[in-house]
């Protein structure tokens, strides 16, 4: 296709306590909508959205996996973390405990997720600034500490409700991802980029099976 546009696809997983707004951030990002009443809805599989990094003329497609509530009782399946390139670890800036939980999730990620995963610690509900319980400076210090241990943690704040800072999160992640490596196919062993489905594509049958009894 377009030769001068470069493309890479990455899997991004969401983590964080229930009701911090994980899905809302994604919906704001993917559909640019916010539904106050939403509980936790996602599609049958996962959402995708692309961003373009103009400086490197690269299009990045995010395949975004929501927890589907399986995080509530710590029952996320290994499948969830598998081959994840980035994780959005979300807390609610108006909830101290949600920030503590986010730190637990970061520890969990180090155990379960692939090495080199890009973690973005996101404080949501920036629109409720006057109810803030989590001090930004504290978060900065925490992240600095993590990154001294060679972690790949970036941080951000946003409001899924009014959209502030949401796109910025994904742009930051996009710039932190090993795009060059992936485009150059260096990492082709584990599934990356367009080699996402190197195997058999079940949505594409070769010939018409007998079961084509459509009305």
């Amino acid at each position: 296709m377009s030769d001068n546009n470069r493309f890479a696809q990455f899997k991004l997983v969401l983590l964080g306590e229930s009701a911090v707004g994980k899905s809302s951030i994604v919906h704001r990002f993917v559909k640019n909508t916010f539904d106050n009443m939403r509980e936790s809805t996602i599609g049958a599989a996962f959402l995708t959205q692309t961003i373009t990094l103009p400086e490197s003329n690269t299009t990045i497609k995010f395949e975004i996996w929501d927890t589907a509530g399986q995080e509530r009782y710590k029952s996320l399946a290994p499948m969830y973390y598998r081959n994840a390139n980035a994780a959005l670890c979300v807390y609610d800036i108006t909830s101290r405990s949600s920030f503590n939980k986010a730190q637990d999730w970061i520890k969990e990620l180090k155990k379960q997720a692939p090495e080199g995963i890009v973690i973005c610690l996101v404080g949501n509900k920036l629109d409720l600034e006057n109810e803030r319980e989590v001090d930004q400076q504290e978060v900065i210090e925490y992240v600095q500490e993590l990154n001294q241990e060679n972690d790949n943690v970036i941080l951000s704040e946003c409001s899924a409700k009014n959209g502030e800072g949401v796109l910025d999160i994904f742009n930051k992640i996009g710039r932190a991802l090993p795009v060059e490596e992936v485009i150059n196919g260096a990492n082709n062993r584990s599934r990356q980029v367009g080699s996402r489905k190197p195997g058999v594509n079940l949505s594409r049958q070769q010939n018409q099976p007998q079961s084509s009894n459509c009305c």
């Binding site: 959402l47 299009t59 599934r191 949505s203």
Partner: protein, 624 residues
Amino acid sequence: MSSFHRAERRKSVAERSPSVSYAPDTIPQLAGLEKPQEHNLHIGECDVLVMGTGLVESVVAAALSWQGVDVLHIDNKTCYGDSNSTLTIEQVKSWCQEVNSGRIQHFEDAQVYVTGDIYHPQSKFKSKDYGIDLTPKIMFAQSDLLSLLVKSRVYKYLEFQSLSNFHIFENDSFSTKFANASSKEEIFTDQSLSLLTKRYLMKFLKFVLEDNNDEDKRKTLADNAKVTIYDFLSQKFNLETSQINELIYSIGLCIKPTTKTPEAIARIRRFLVSFNVYGNFPVLVSKYGGPGEISQGFCRSAAVAGTTYKLNTALTDYDPQLKLAKFSDKSSIKINEKLIVAPTQIPKFLQSSYNEITESLKKVNISRLVVIVKKDCKEWMADQECSAMVVFPPESLNSQNKTSIQALIQNGGTGVCPPGQSIWYLTSFEQDSIKAKQDLQCAFEKMESSILRESSDLDDVLDENLSVNKSGTSLVVNSVKLGKSLQNFVPKETLEIICKFGFTQKTYVLNDLSNVINPTDENNVSLRKTKDCEDIIFTNMPSSEISYDGIVKECKTIYQAITGSDDDFFDVDFEDDDEFNPAGFHQQPTTSSSNLKTSDNDMAIASSDDEDNAHPFGADEMEL
């Protein structure tokens, strides 16, 4: 907490007959569950409680959930999959301990050996680099579970690879006569066969592929209902033992020579009709693990539809009058409809009911030997593939095996182990478990010597036999490739084993799946009635079947027992809005917004072939 919690409770079954109390404390704490977000379930009620995250239970949970049923899905273990789990080496070790201490019903005699390497801090390989299936399975390209994976969109969580090579062991060597074919017809056109044999084979192929409603075919099958497939093939089609073995054990994956003709023909047919559905191979395997991985996919689907998940939780008590369930986390929840209980999850107070139900049923033993070796075994696999099947027909081993041994081999390319290694899953259907072990060991040794022979490359031979001159080189290469003629060639190399793991599993599903395909309240655990509690439905232990056949039928049987009909089983139209790509990247610009596919039911899937095959994954399925 729910109001039921406060209600005055009547004494439950367990309380009325106090025996040994169920002790959830014995369940080991594994990583990931040490700091639960919530300790106790915070829901007041649900419609259906599903216990056990095995494949059937997971599909049922998803099916119910998508129909709007409120499902709570728990497992007494800390990982997904239950009897279908895909385990790491560490998990295998603790699983074996659990089995041998009698804590996991229907499994016994677990043995495990793990090389010390894995624990070495500097070791390149870690326990979690391995995904070992308790029930290894292969999926035919034309099969009901595969259709369900597509229909339910669960395939999107998974990756599939092809498997083409089916080897059969005969006369003390492996042959792959029918493998590597690119069409159904080619399967039967091996050059080494005589013209006459080819003609008989083509006649047989035609018979098998004939429509199942064809009068003549039906009559032939009915007439031969009691005839063994061996006799049928030799008498009606004049085939010789070598071809018959290949047809029965390799293509048909039957397990004994006495398999009756109709069953065997159905098995052979499923292989042939699976050819060229997704390519010139009959079978698929899921990456990173088989049923364990697919279970996780359905659990995720169920979660998306609203099912609540909580691992490491057991039912400790159930009051059938109040319909109140109590759990090991001390929570209590009202169950409005039914409880689905996997046989590995049976609480003490339900044990006698289960025993009663299963008393008169025939028990089937399945013995497995799993060996992880430091070889990728690519010699056995087709080009670009990472899996292969090896079958040992009855009487082919020195141990005089009465039933066949089926072996699935998967290397690092399937994500179940590191590169350069492979997992060999050997299954025996011998009912005498001591004999089964001998057969398995015997088959393993045959595979071991075969792979050493075949993989000893020229350089090794040259290094060890410096006297071999250049002119002799090509000869050596050829004979190494032939394998058979080098039978007595003993390589210096030995096979490095990383892990060896064996166990016996019991099930009430018969080997021919007859009590799953035609279940009655006489023959199937799920339909048998419990005396003291009508709300309980037990599921079956996994069958001995190497394919996924029977799984969907089992799910529908349970689904029907709950909802009264399986008409709306996974009757869901998914909008594939997740594949909507606003940038139009990777697509033809014209398909980006107007190519409306309103619903993705059966019809859409079937008609997807009309689309340009060059389109990337899902590009034609757009958001409204």
